[in-house]
């Protein structure tokens, strides 16, 4: 894939290792990875640029940073697909469901991944969303 056609993926997560691991895989799959470790940094980036896709951790500065960020991205450009990843739902016993209208109304994201997901799973989701 040539440099000019590379698609950009914004990754926001406050765990430095998630950023390292995701950057490695995204680049391996031919994407350009922009990694930030806070909602604030992500918002700074979004003021100037539009990524082709965003992968957001749910809990960063606040418990719902990912939702807030996702909302802002969709407000800026509803066409940018958003994946929210988190480890919280397991403990709470609640799964988010994006397959129906009600779920989509509440959760402003295109896909939801529970942390501990496999890279192949992420790759499939990304390919489905942006090719």
């Amino acid at each position: 894939m040539g440099q000019n056609h590379q698609k950009t993926i914004l990754v926001a997560d406050d765990d430095p290792d998630v950023l390292i691991i995701l950057r490695h895989h995204l680049e391996k799959w031919g994407y350009e990875a922009i990694t930030v470790d806070s909602r604030r940094e992500a918002e700074k980036y979004l003021e100037v640029y539009s990524p082709h896709l965003a992968i957001l951790d749910l809990m960063m500065e606040e418990d719902d940073s990912g939702f807030i960020l996702s909302y802002r991205i969709k407000k800026k450009d509803p066409e940018i697909p958003v994946i929210i990843s988190t480890a919280v739902s397991g403990e709470r016993g609640i799964r988010f469901n994006l397959d129906d209208e009600t779920g989509r109304k509440w959760i402003k994201a295109d896909h939801y991944l529970e942390k501990g997901y496999r890279m192949e799973e992420l790759k499939n989701v990304i390919q489905k969303l942006i090719g």
Binding site: P16, D17, I20, H24, N97, M119
Partner: protein, 373 residues
């Protein structure tokens, strides 16, 4: 191995026997558990039959289909909740709509298993429920001893334990796949990260032991007249390797013959936490001053640093569990987020006071005031 009793409620015999078959050979283990859990399944074809069986032998877990011939799943759930029956219920729903999920969650359901499900999905739901059940048991046994630890604490804890595991797994997979080639040297950086996460996890577990111990142990027996200056000197020698590494100068001014009545280990925990924070949240070439003196009826322990400091907002949440101040200045500093909540709790136990003064980029001063012994 303990067997958890599961009642499978579904009107389709094939699903019931399928679930029983899958779970009969399945076991769950969890880091804090003494032994694995296995499963013993019984089956009911209607809600009414299920409630009858529950009345004679209470199951630990119920896998409940929502669509049943007589009363439906939600109604069964409501009876269970109204009768305050201690059963973890997972709803099996053919379509997992958020609406039913929300309703069932209000009525006490712990999980949802969307139908059709694969054996792996069923097992992962059961793992989750067994884990919740286990956490609930710990929480309850602590409550029974009058030592309540909130469920939320455990859920945050499990999050804190999972993050390093996810990171380690991610790196291990990169190594397994030889993502960086055949030369081991190219893996040095990620191996370093792995060790750092392992160390973080070790510290978390150690802090967790302190955190639990100070709440549970019988302190009376171990209280003695503790020489505070001596404990301070010991803590200083413990932290010295780290301070040398970070080029931070530590000084101690301690009056002799200053005593408190306390378990010696508690005093050590206070010093170790305050000193390690003063060194960690410092800057290259910084200074830490420790002083111990008697002021009237009290012993005052001061730990002052000229490190990165905190603003008002950061100070206000400082003593909460799992709080770690996150900003550009604290980047790369690791910790469990339990240290100061432990210090605070210990100070409270001895009817002492803790005071903090801090300014960003200027440093912090912690004062622990304990009744002199």
């Amino acid at each position: 191995m303990e067997k958890l009793k599961i009642l499978v409620v579904d009107d389709e015999p094939g699903i019931r026997s399928g679930i029983s078959r899958i779970l009969s050979s399945h076991t769950v283990s969890f880091p804090f558990m003494d032994e694995d859990y296995g499963f013993d399944c019984r089956e009911a074809s209607t809600g009414e039959e299920a409630l009858e069986m529950v009345a004679s032998d209470l199951p630990h877990i119920m896998l409940l289909d929502n669509k049943l011939p007589g009363m439906d799943g939600i109604e069964v759930l409501q009876v269970i909740q109204e009768s305050k029956l201690d059963i973890m219920v997972a709803m099996i729903t053919s379509y997992a709509s958020l609406e039913i999920a929300a309703k069932a969650t209000d009525d006490g359901a712990r999980d949802f298993i969307p139908k059709p499900f694969t054996p792996a999905e069923l097992k992962s739901s059961i793992d989750l429920i067994a884990k919740q059940l286990f956490l609930k048991r710990i929480t309850r046994s602590m409550k029974e001893e009058g030592k309540k630890i909130r469920y939320q604490f455990l859920s945050v804890l499990s999050h804190e334990l999972k993050s390093p595991l996810n990171a380690l797994e991610g790196y291990l997979r990169m190594i397994q796949e030889k993502d960086l080639g055949d030369n081991l040297d190219d893996y040095r950086e990620i191996l370093g990260r792995c060790f750092q996460r392992v160390e973080g996890m070790r510290l978390l577990i150690m802090d967790l032991m302190d955190f639990t111990r100070i709440r549970l142990e019988n302190r009376e027996e171990r209280i003695e007249r503790v020489d505070v200056a001596e404990r301070a000197r010991m803590a200083l020698s413990t932290i010295r390797p780290l301070s040398i590494q970070k080029n931070i100068d530590i000084g101690l001014t301690a009056e002799d013959l200053v005593f408190v009545n306390a378990a010696p280990n508690d005093v050590d925990i206070v010093f170790n936490n305050l000193l390690s924070n003063a060194v960690k949240y410092n800057r290259e070439g910084g200074e830490v001053e420790v002083s111990v003196r008697k002021e009237g009826e009290n012993v005052v322990i001061r730990v002052r640093d000229n490190g990165i400091g905190m603003n008002r907002e950061e100070i206000s949440v400082l003593f909460n569990e799992f709080v770690r101040i996150k900003n550009s200045r604290t980047k790369g500093i690791t910790g469990s987020g339990l240290g100061l909540s432990i210090v605070n709790k210990i100070t409270e136990i001895y009817r002492g006071k803790i005071q903090v003064e801090s300014e960003p980029d200027r440093g912090s001063e912690f004062r622990i005031i304990l009744p002199a012994g």
